[in-house]
Amino acid sequence: MTEKTAYNERLEQKLTTIFAGGHSKYHEKMKEQNKLFVRDRLALLFDDGVYLEDGRFANSEAGDLPADGVVTATGKVGGQQVCVMANDSTVKAGSWGSRTVEKIIRIQEIAEKTRVPMLYLVDSAGARITDQLDMFPNRRGAGRIFHNQVRMSGFVPQVCLLFGPSAAGGAYIPAFCDIVIMVEGNASMYLGSPRMAEKVIGEKVTLEEMGGARMHCTISGCGDVLVTSEQEAIAEVQRYLAYFPANFTEMPKVVEPKAVKEGRSLEAIIPENQNAPFDMYEAIDQLIDEGTFFNIKKLFATEIITGLARIEGQAVGIIANQPKAKGGVLFGDSADKAAKFINLCDAFGIPLLFLADVPGFMIGTKVERAGIIRHGAKLIMAMSSATVPKISVIVRKAYGAGLYAMAGPAFEPDVCIALPTAQIAVMGPEAAVNAVLANKIESIEDPKERLKFVQEKHQEYKEQIDIYKLASEMIIDEIVAPSDLREVLAMRFSAYSTKHIPQPPRKHPVYPV
C-alpha cells in the first residue's frame, strides 16, 4: 500500500487523468462504433493484461493530451515478450504530435534492441497539422517511424492491427508490416480521404469504396486478415504470433501434434480429369494438424492459397494453387500475394510447402498490359532465393512457368514429390497438340477422322510426359501415394530442419517490382 503523502497524491491525480484518456464524449462515440478504449485493447492483448508502459507522462502538462494520444508498452503475448504502440483515438482522434512520434520511435528502438516482435495498434487521424514542424519533416519526425520499420523488416516480426483510420502518410505503417489485420466497418487506409479526393480531383466516393477494410482485403491486397470485431483481431494476432520466433536468429517453436480433420481422402478429393476444378482447402485439411490453418490474404487473389499451418506440430508455410478459383491460373495479384508470403516465411525460418496444380500464368492483352511478367518475376525470385526447407508437391498439373513458380526441380526444392495424378509439361496435351499440329488437324476433312487423329496425338503426348518416365529420368525425386503424403512431409521437414545455405557474396539482388 502506497503511503499517503502530498507527493503521492499528486502522482495519483496525474495518473488518474492519464488513464482516463480523452473526453468522455469520445469514449461514448467509440462504444457506438463497437471500438474498445486503447487501455482495454492492451488489457486483452497482453497475457493476464499485464504490461510496462513508457512515456506515460508525455505531454501531460498540456492538460488535454494524455499520453499524447499513444500508449507504448512492452509485455508478454502467449509467453513471448513483444513491444506495442497503440493509438488512443479519444485523444485528438489519435493524431500524431511530436511526443507521439517520439514515443513510437522509442518503442521501436526497444523492440529492435531487445529483438522482439513489434505490434502496431493503429487508430489515428494522422498528423496534427498544427504541430507539423515538430513531428513531420525532422530527423526524428514521422518519417523515422517508417525508416525504422524498414530496418526492422525481417529482423523481428511486425504486425499491424487496424482498428480505425490510417490516413495519408500514416497508411505506411500497415504497408511496412508483415501482415495487417483489419476490423470490418471501422478500419480504413487511404492516402487522401473521400473529402480530399472530392476537393482535389473531383471524385465522389464513400469511405468504404476509397479505403475500407473489405476493399483492402479483397481488391487492393493491402489487408491480410478481415475480422468482424476488435476482440477477434486480438485473438488472431495471438494465434499468428505463435507460429513465429522472437526474431530471425531463432527458430519457430514446435508444438504438440494434432491429428488431421476428419474428411474425405485425397484420392476422393482430387479429380482425375486435369481440367475439372476441386477445392484445394479440402486437400490441405488432409495434410495439416486440425485447426492450425492461419489463412493470409484469404479474400485476395483467391486462385492461390497462402497460409501458416502445422504438420505434426511443426510450423510450415503453405503455397497452394486453388483450381476452384480462376482454374488456379496465376495472375499478377496471385504472384504478388505468394511472393510476399514466401519472403515472410523465409525471413523467420518457416519451411515452405508448395502444392502445385497450375495451368500456368494467365495470357492475353489484359494481363500483359498489367505487367504479368514483372509480377511473376517477383514470385519466382522470392521462391528461388528462399533458403528455408522447401518441398514441392505436384498434385496434378504443373504447366509452363507455373512449374517454376511452384518451386519446380530447377529451383532446388529439397525434394520434388509427385502424386500419381501429377502431370508436368510445357503445356497441357490439348494446347500442345493444337500448337504443334494445327495445320495437319485443319487439313483432315472428315470430322470423325479429325477427332480420332487428335485423340491419338493426345494419348501419345500423355505418354511422353508420363510421370513415371519423369521419375525414371530423375526429374522428380519421388512418387508418393496420396494417403502417405502427410507422413512423408512430416518426416522430410524434420530431416531438412538443419538446412543451411550461405548467402552469395553480394550486397543484395536487384529486386523486380
Binding site: N275, P277, P323, K326, G327, P359, M362, K366, A431
Partner: protein, 70 residues
C-alpha cells in the same frame, strides 16, 4: 443494376441460367473455358436475372458483363 463480371478472359463454355431465373448467392451460373480449364462463374448475391449478355462460344475479357440482375 447489379452486374456479374467475368473474373478472367476466356470462352463461354456453358450457360446455366436464362433471363427471369432466380439465382442464389454462390450458385454456379456459367462455366468459362480458359487456359484449358473449366472456370465456374458463381453469382455473388441472390437476385433475378435480367439479361444474359454472352452466348456459348463467345470470347469474354476480364471485366466484361456476363449477366445483369433486376
Amino acid at each position: 443494376m447489379k452486374q456479374l463480371l467475368s473474373t478472367m478472359a476466356g470462352t463461354v463454355f456453358t450457360i446455366g441460367v436464362n433471363a427471369g431465373d432466380d439465382v442464389t448467392a454462390g450458385q454456379s451460373v456459367m462455366v468459362l473455358e480458359s487456359m484449358k480449364m473449366e472456370i465456374p462463374v458463381e453469382a455473388e448475391t441472390a437476385g433475378k436475372v435480367a439479361t444474359v449478355n454472352a452466348q456459348v462460344g463467345d470470347f469474354v475479357n476480364e471485366g466484361d458483363v456476363l449477366l445483369t440482375f433486376e
